[in-house]
């Protein structure tokens, strides 16, 4: 069950987490609770996997280069192909989606040459063509995602 404090931490601290010596104390001061309460509430959110972490969020392509890749793979081969692709350390998301292009993954590499080498290797190993969809422009102003935490 989420407490008021959990909800405040979830919605108000997706950005502007304090860059100070005692950030949890600063949050506690702002919310009128103690540092220990803030730390234990964040620990609960973390332990229950309701947050994946607290930390800096880096937009794509600011460190290294990345591309979204789509493949069309017959259903009976999907798991085999997906396993081959997921085994690459450069692949960090891999989803099955309902579409003719049914396999979608993201490749992150140190530079363009490395990116293309990984994609070439994936195409050779799976024998399916990869459709490359690198980001050309990012329109998202990331202030976090407004969560509706009522009625849970």
């Amino acid at each position: 069950m989420l407490t008021t404090l959990h909800k405040q931490l979830l919605n108000d601290y997706q950005h502007d987490f304090p860059l100070s010596a005692r950030p949890y104390q600063d949050i506690a001061d702002a919310l009128g609770v103690t540092e220990a309460e803030v730390l234990s509430a964040f620990t609960e959110l973390n332990d229950n996997n309701l947050i994946s972490r607290i930390g800096p969020v880096i937009p794509p392509n600011h460190i290294g280069v990345s591309a979204l890749v789509a493949m069309s793979v017959p259903e009976q081969h999907l798991q085999t192909v997906a396993d081959i692709i997921s085994a690459y350390p450069e692949v960090n998301h891999n989803y099955e989606r309902e579409h003719r292009f049914n396999l979608w993954f993201v490749v992150i590499a140190s530079d363009t040459e490395h990116l293309h080498a990984v994609i070439d290797s994936i195409e050779r190993e799976t024998s399916y063509p990869a459709m490359l969809l690198p980001m050309l422009d990012d329109f998202f102003i990331d202030l976090g995602f407004k969560l509706d935490l009522n009625n849970d």
């Binding site: 997706q14 005692r22 730390l39 891999n94 099955e96 309902e98 459709m131 995602f145």
Partner: protein, 160 residues
């Protein structure tokens, strides 16, 4: 530009800041730096846009947002910036990117991820994007994920 120390700080924080009273001090000790140095470098990286934000990263799925759709739209190239900015501002959109077309099989050049607690909520969001785009929408589709096959956090793969 980022130097080696900046990269190490980013790497050390990608698993999350420690949940201890002085998290930057803990990171600093790990890297042989001072806490002030870590905070100053994070602040500089945030000002230059390398870091988009510093904060809690919610797990949408676990918080009840079980329905996510990747919406894709075919927007005339000359209007992609204008339309992309409008869609990117919607509060239920978590990513909004311009990506290349691959005709004839892939004509969609605008991608927007939407998240909702119910299918109806997601359908309404998609309708809202569609209304916003109006005649600039030459065609669209929504791809729902049926299976997460791999999902790991951000990792730097920069060469050392």
């Amino acid at each position: 530009m980022l130097d080696e120390t900046d990269r190490k700080i980013i790497q050390a924080t990608q698993a999350g800041l420690p949940l201890t009273p002085q998290p930057y001090q803990a990171i600093a000790e790990q890297l042989g730096l001072t806490a002030d140095d870590v905070m100053m470098r994070l602040s500089t990286m945030q000002n230059s846009g390398i870091i988009r934000r510093i904060g809690a990263v919610p797990n949408h799925y676990k918080l009840g947002y079980r329905f996510n759709g990747m919406t894709v739209w075919n927007i005339p190239d000359e209007f992609i910036d204008e339309m992309g900015q409008k869609v990117g501002q919607l509060e239920f959109v978590s990513h909004c990117y311009h990506r290349p077309r691959h005709p004839p099989e892939w004509l969609y050049n605008l991608f927007a991820m939407v998240h909702g607690k119910t299918q109806e909520a997601v359908d309404q969001q998609i309708q809202q994007i569609s209304d916003l785009l109006g005649d600039y929408n030459l065609g669209s589709d929504v791809l729902y994920s049926t299976k997460i096959l791999k999902k790991t956090g951000f990792r730097t793969t920069a060469r050392r």
